[in-house]
Amino acid sequence: MGERMPKHKRLLRRVPLVIWLTAVWVLLWGTFDVGTLFFGVLVALLVTLLFPLPMIRTGMVLRPLPMLRLIGYLAWDLVISTLRVAWQAVWHRRSAKAGIVASTLRSDSDHVIAIVASAVSLAPGKFVLQIDRVNRTCYVYALGLRPGEEDSVRREMWFLERLVVDAVGSAGQRELVRGDAG
């Protein structure tokens, strides 16, 4: 974090954010023409220049196909989990049990850990209650957990981690995840 990047590289780093913000602008207006795009870029630049964020070495690479796979998995999980929890809400009510399971991830990156935590937290039933960043451990709360299912939770976390790393992770992280998961 201490060393400074060359200027052009730093500017380059801002490009994804500018694109995202321009996209937001255009989506908000709902008009797809040059004018909107032009002002979108203008606004995006204005915002990124006026309120700069610290540079972060992520080594992130966006891979479209694995990304779609991740999104697909999450969408599926969302629907299934919702049905499951709805079932529990109506039929099990007060007798619903739960557990907090520690799951140590392999990637040592804020990004990956955060995205995995978010991903697992998106659908009902599970969420990351506490992260131990230094030890790369997520404490996952799982609703409807039955005794002995702790390991399935950990497996699911690893699976998710792999999906995430496949979608956005650096080459090194992919290495790490594949190596472990085999």
Binding site: L27, V90, A119, Y139
Partner: protein
């Protein structure tokens, strides 16, 4: 009814049902963390479905905005879940009787210095 209407009807009613079941869960589950699961997440699904259901009814220029709404919702819901859940655990609002296993609690008890 055109096919967009059918899709729209399914999405809208499905979304609303998802919200309703979430609300039922919020009412019936025994402790905060469980209710949190029951309530906030199905809302996400419900909202997304409703956004889709509405989006197909609208013309494209308007519908694009809905994508943003959906994105925001999926982006923020997990954070909220984590912060609220964490707060529940930290304030001891989690009903310990419902926990069949608590590896976090075990570790905290193991390492007395961290409390």
């Amino acid at each position: 009814m055109s096919w967009t209407d059918v899709l729209s009807a399914i999405c809208l009613i499905g979304g609303a049902l998802s919200c309703l079941f979430g609300a039922i869960g919020l009412l019936t589950f025994p402790d905060v963390t469980a209710r949190l699961q029951a309530a906030t997440k199905p809302q996400t699904l419900g909202l997304i479905l409703i956004l889709i259901g509405t989006g197909v009814q609208l013309n494209l220029g308007y519908a694009t905005g809905l994508i943003l709404v959906g994105l925001f919702q999926t982006l923020t819901a997990p954070v909220l879940a984590q912060l609220v859940g964490r707060a529940a655990y930290r304030t001891d609002s989690v009903d310990r009787d419902t926990l069949i296993v608590d590896e976090l609690g075990e570790r905290i008890d193991r390492e007395p210095g961290v409390r």
